[in-house]
């Protein structure tokens, strides 16, 4: 038993995590005919809390309450994994990535997210403006405009052989490459790294 817990505490390899994530697709379908998708929860939050008579938010969000429960579960899973199953060691990162990020001004490689960026003290600074406010806005606006995110398009859509989802996924990746290689260095310099 102790060995099992010890094994679970280690970071899981991709060939364990990927297939388990993939199994979410049939699990949700078989439990109750639900298509896997997460960004929809953000839309349901709007429809439930701030619909403001906008047609896009006029639908029976209560029918989609399962999706809200699903993301609440993801939040709780995050708590459980970090409290009971956390890996005591620092994240193992590709040497080249670490070098690139040091060049950009990142110094803290202990946790899953760099404390240089993701801390409350950055909230009312340029760092917070770019990484939380603008970054979050792009994620919410972009996923809804695209009609889905990594789960709804890349995993659920491509699994179901939907070519529009493949197009969406290609542009997700393209946006990420452009940000990482062309824009991020300028943002990092601008916000004071």
């Amino acid at each position: 038993m102790e060995q099992l817990i010890e094994w679970i505490r280690q970071p899981w390899p991709w060939y364990v995590a990927g297939p388990l994530i993939g199994l979410t697709v049939p699990a949700l379908l078989i439990i109750g005919n639900k298509s896997f998708g997460i960004s929809s929860s953000l839309r349901h939050a709007c429809a439930a809390c701030i619909p403001a008579k906008i047609p896009f938010f006029q639908y029976d969000w209560k029918k989609e309450i399962w999706n809200i429960l699903f993301v609440t579960g993801i939040f709780l899973g995050g708590i459980i994994a970090s409290v009971f199953l956390s890996n005591p060691d620092a994240i193992v990162l590709a040497e080249s990535t670490q070098q690139d990020l040091i060049q950009l001004g990142i110094t803290d490689f202990r946790n899953l997210l760099p404390a240089d960026i993701f801390s409350w003290s950055n909230l009312f600074t340029l760092k917070g403006l770019f990484f939380f406010v603008i970054g979050g806005f792009l994620v919410g606006f972009g996923t809804r405009y695209a009609g889905g995110c990594t789960s709804g398009h890349a995993i659920m859509g491509i699994s179901n052989l939907q070519w529009p989802s493949l197009v969406a996924t290609i542009f997700f990746m393209l946006g990420g490459f452009v940000m990482t290689h062309l824009i991020l260095p300028h943002i990092m310099a601008f916000v004071g790294f």
Partner: protein, 162 residues
């Protein structure tokens, strides 16, 4: 029995639709909470919620995220084929239905915009929730901003090219 296919996606309805005919309430809905919990644990334990892993991915310096997403798609694809070919039904006995995704310009423009945000925040919507749960409470701000972004899209949806 053949599984019903090609149900047109209603543009007003959501993109991860509830295709269940019968209503679910109370403890039955809790099953989705349980799946979510397991999913959240996988997210954290595989470190896919890590900003660093996303940087590795977009810098093409690690195979890890490609392995995760690729194998998830492969398992999803095999599962859906099995469901369709074997006519597997839901636990409640309904035929399984999956809506088709319609092509819109939004998948190009919106997809690109999401990609920019993905590399900046190191998170797609799912990992946002897991990041908050695993103690990075400031990501609540990112989540609220993502909800705001969704709202702004909804407000101007009919004025954007689509």
């Amino acid at each position: 029995m053949k599984v019903k296919e090609n149900i047109p996606a209603n543009p007003v309805e959501c993109e991860a639709p509830n295709m269940g005919k019968s209503g679910e309430s109370g403890w039955k809905l809790m099953r989705y909470l349980v799946v979510g919990v397991l999913f959240g644990i996988i997210f954290v334990k595989a470190e896919v919620i890590s900003w660093f892993r996303i940087q590795e991915m977009f810098r093409l310096q690690s195979f890890f995220m490609y392995g995760v997403i690729g194998s998830a798609i492969l398992v999803g694809l095999i599962s859906i084929q099995l469901i369709k070919r074997l006519g597997i039904k839901t636990l409640g006995g309904e035929p399984i239905r999956i809506a088709d995704k319609e092509f819109r310009k939004g998948q190009i423009i919106g997809g690109f915009i999401f990609g920019l945000g993905w590399a900046l925040t190191g998170a797609c919507p799912g990992p946002l929730f897991a990041q908050i749960g695993s103690g990075f409470s400031v990501v609540v701000v990112t989540l609220l901003s993502a909800i705001a972004g969704t709202w702004v899209y909804g407000k101007y949806a009919d004025k954007l090219p689509n």
